[in-house]
Symmetry: D2
Subunit: 348 residues, 4 copies
């Protein structure tokens, strides 16, 4: 039985992904926002927390314990990892859940523990979770109550690589992902490293060889490569609020050149609304996807024979978070996949 | 007879206001884009000129001479001043026109000539033009074929001041408008002064005492004050792409204090969808209106008795250009005024 | 007896003003840095706290209690207000002190208490403190052990206004200061309001009518006006790391016009190395003083008769903090006033 | 015979590298600026072209033809390529020349023609030119009248790679340089692609596989590797005015790991004032070298066995242009190499 309108709760609505869900859902014809939570800000209006949403009629913030889940069809969960699993494991079955944290992305509890520093406490829910890279896990998403929405770096990295690994178009051993992110990826917490004065007018790498999105990318690519995949993954912080650019260096498989790689990608995404493979040798800019659910992918031959450069761009808060979450909610509930996601990019 | 759908042409679609019209009209249920012009880029697709719109199905750019105006209901004219009047004076009567240039804003040809450096050549059309500050000229806009869409600084300055002058709440002699603009106000032309390296990480005033929006503000305020108004108006360039903030210093009229001034504004705009008077002593930020058609207005008492500080914020490309143009098109054509303009602000 | 070289301690060296003192003192031929303190980071090298200074040979951070003050000639005190007065009141007499906090700027303890929220606990030291606006309190600075270094907004506001009030060139009742600041003025503390994502691509006013620099400006201007002065002072936050721009609106005194006001300012600062009055009608940009101890001042006639617009620009961390502190140290110690302060601005 | 003071002319002083030479030379005790040229702006003061230098006593701009070269010891040539070779080939022998254009960097005229689109017309001068990567061509620089100052990307790429290729610490076949630049690298010309609105809040690759710094890097690395080197080199444009970050992916040579690679680099630059190898696993940020002649280099092991990530950061206008030019001038003239180059970085 399909819902006419999904009654929605957002847990952790006072962060940037919460605000972005609200922005996008305002245009969703089959979504109705029923509850917004923020434990420390319960009682406030959304306008007190996000002045840019002050003119938008929305329920006030409450605590999770005060949400009547029997009147909720979909929960978007935007809580920090660790907290998330405690909340989700105790949820009554009924609402469908799209979780934007990292808690249910890694299937291997030992890997989770190594990267997140503590044991996983919701292994039962973990067993039901489906990785929410919409274009590639669509059928499983339709069936599950719990979607583990992918990370931002991972979405930008996986979308261009999956079709190439599936079709053996590239050497799976030599993948390098040099990724660049805007600052909203660090969330709305007060941290010295995210201050304007520490970020503006400069660029630097961080989390090299240790970033938590590394194993997530590898798990997903391994799903499609038919063998274990390791990647070199280097994140950088760029003075912009939104956007992820992934510059990916691959070695062509025998009998493949950059043009054939481009053709393979173009074919793979020919019918997808949100993944756009640009003309051969055109390359994307993050500012051209700002505010939209698009992933742009460009392919360029390298100066060095036998190698190809692939560049993808997304808005980390949309296709890298809230937008893909809505896309997954649409899939789970049998809605047209583009509902709430038709806004054009905002440029300049 | 009302149109079911307006068939639209955009003249000068390769600039920022053209792109912004396209972004907003994509969500307008009763607009159909039929022709886009750009004289020097005729033949190109919109994606070649604006990569962020590459996935949006739109007609290719053509020359104005190649547009079949008999199949057009509305022309948005985004051409430079001077060129604009040459085009508009030769248009066949039929399509309604919203002109985003400055050519039809000043009613006095001598004033136009003084500020724009050449005589006005379309005085007949000028006589029909209605100034398009939607909230205050609505009835005349309904009747005219030609709307002179207001400037960005002027919209931000006029909206808070009109109700106060109408109700004699402030001293009309001592108005100071200290205004701050983002860089998109300068358009997409290659100019040294708009380079990233010349704008980033700094602020400076420009056009002091000479800016063309000065006489436009005065003409409009004079309409409502019942006497001639002069203003001090100082524009500044801020390292941001979008946004206008106007910090306005007024002397209270006898028997008025800041709170009464606030009440007068709140009352004036109580029923308006796009003008929001914030709670007393709250003040707006430009980033909280980005991408939306909102004008936020805040009122604060000054440290000095008898004076009040009023701050307004708009997105110069939306309420200050393309958004208000669509609002005016809606009024002209009998559409609900909010169509195409319901997007929430994009933050961060 | 003049010092050959001043042995210097910086208290609170882990903030931005501390870093800026280090940058400038590296070029000071008569300064020798002997001790750097930071209570919570004691034991670290400066490179751990400020990677940009990692190649600069400096002592490690220690606690104030571990500094041998008998071997120190000058203390730059960069501590938060309240803490500052507790430290300074217990200092042994001997070292000269330039205090960059607000604790000794306001002479009236009641005013201090009103604006800073607690009583002043070092009134004896307060009685010795000299306000360190170098160009105007030079003789008193030479004589004192304790300089209260001015605030950033206040320096930018006072330098253009003092000569005009002294010479009765302007109406002292109607001064409006619309000021714009970079983000480093908020310091290096982790605050949501200073995050890149909250500051970038926008502008907003803050502290309207309540900012602590308001009474400081009034106290200083009152010193020179020969009567009590009140000002309207409106700070705004701009997406840039450094810089203050003050746009000042004044009413001309009878017999003065903008040109005469310009002449008065040009004459007042003709012999000053760090205050530069630009040609009449030229106006400054903050980016043109970045990294330098310059204050640029421009004067422009208004559109409205009898009024003048004066614009000043400084780097808030240099002339608005560390640079002026070094200038004051030079004055106190009989050094040439420009030592350590000869760097040209960094542009772009 | 050593010069007491070098009498200096700057050809093409109205661009960013010209301004940067002026800023740095202001602190150079043995440099005296005698002539500044700018063909189209001849007759103007430097303050008209660069307001930030208005208070600095300098000669007005003249045409090259009006410079008395017999009274000049050193010419810094900041002209566009192609123009440069025409000027330099006709210079009288006498002044030493540091050329900041690309015209004398590539030794192979065929390669020059392929990348720059026209034949080289000054092959005689080319034969005398020495590539000015100061740390590695010092002895030849001492002997030549003509230094071809390296490009910005190339300096950042070559400094970390040369010692590793010389000592066979890395596989020379698999070098990937993912480089990120600030906007000042594009110069001060009015171009749409350098507008604030086109650059702010985003990142994109450009010149992939075709950028002119590709062959320059290969020529230099080939000099030290003892065999022909090919590199993959991908430039990106970052919303910042200054800075280059090069993230370099290398495969370790047999018997080398990341730590051994780090040790090799640390040893190679132990005695260099301007190249600083950070502690193992520390990585640089461009904002930490802003305004200084420093190159910071960091080394980190990869997640994938046998591979290492090396990151270098410079200020493109200093070590990547004007600073290295002064360093080369110092070497050519027997001055201490650090003269004029001792400024600490400007942060924030």
């Amino acid at each position: 039985m399909l819902l006419e309108r999904a009654r929605i709760a957002i847990f952790g609505a006072s962060g940037y992904t919460g605000a972005e869900l609200l922005r996008l859902l305002a245009d969703h014809p089959r979504a109705e926002i029923r509850a917004l939570t923020a434990e420390r800000q319960a009682g406030k209006s959304i306008g007190e927390v996000f002045p840019h949403l002050a003119t938008y009629a929305l329920p006030d913030l409450v605590k999770i314990a005060d949400v009547d889940l029997s009147a909720i069809d979909v929960v978007f969960c935007c809580l920090p990892h660790a907290t998330t699993q405690e909340i989700i494991k105790d949820l009554p079955r009924g609402p469908k859940v799209v979780d934007l944290s990292a808690d249910f992305r890694l299937r291997d509890p030992a890997l989770y523990e190594r990267y997140y520093g503590h044991a996983h406490h919701a292994l039962e829910a973990q067993a039901d979770a489906v990785y929410g890279l919409s274009e590639h896990y669509r059928q499983a998403i339709e069936q599950t109550w719990l979607v583990a929405n992918p990370g931002c770096y991972t979405t930008a990295s996986e979308l261009p690589l999956i079709p190439l690994l599936k079709s053996n178009a590239i050497n799976p051993d030599a993948i390098i992902i040099d990724a660049k992110s805007g600052v909203s990826g660090a969330g709305r917490d007060a941290k010295v490293g995210s201050l304007f004065t520490e970020v503006s007018e400069g660029i630097h790498p961080y989390g090299v060889a240790t970033h938590r999105h590394g194993p997530e990318i590898e798990q997903c690519l391994t799903d499609f490569a038919g063998r274990s995949i390791e990647v070199i993954f280097t994140p950088h912080l760029v003075p912009m609020s939104r956007g992820i650019l992934a510059t990916i260096y691959v070695r062509n498989a025998p009998n493949f050149d950059a043009e054939a790689i481009h053709a393979r990608l173009a074919e793979a995404y020919a019918d997808e609304a949100f993944v756009n493979v640009m003309p051969f040798k055109s390359l994307p800019a993050t500012r051209h996807v700002r505010g939209s659910n698009l992933c742009l992918i460009g392919v360029h031959p390298s100066r060095v024979a036998g190698q190809t450069i692939i560049v993808s761009a997304i808005d980390n808060l949309v296709k890298g978070a809230a937008g893909q979450a809505i896309q997954n909610m649409n899939i789970q509930n049998g809605f047209a996949e583009h509902l709430g996601l038709t806004q054009q990019p905002l440029f300049p």
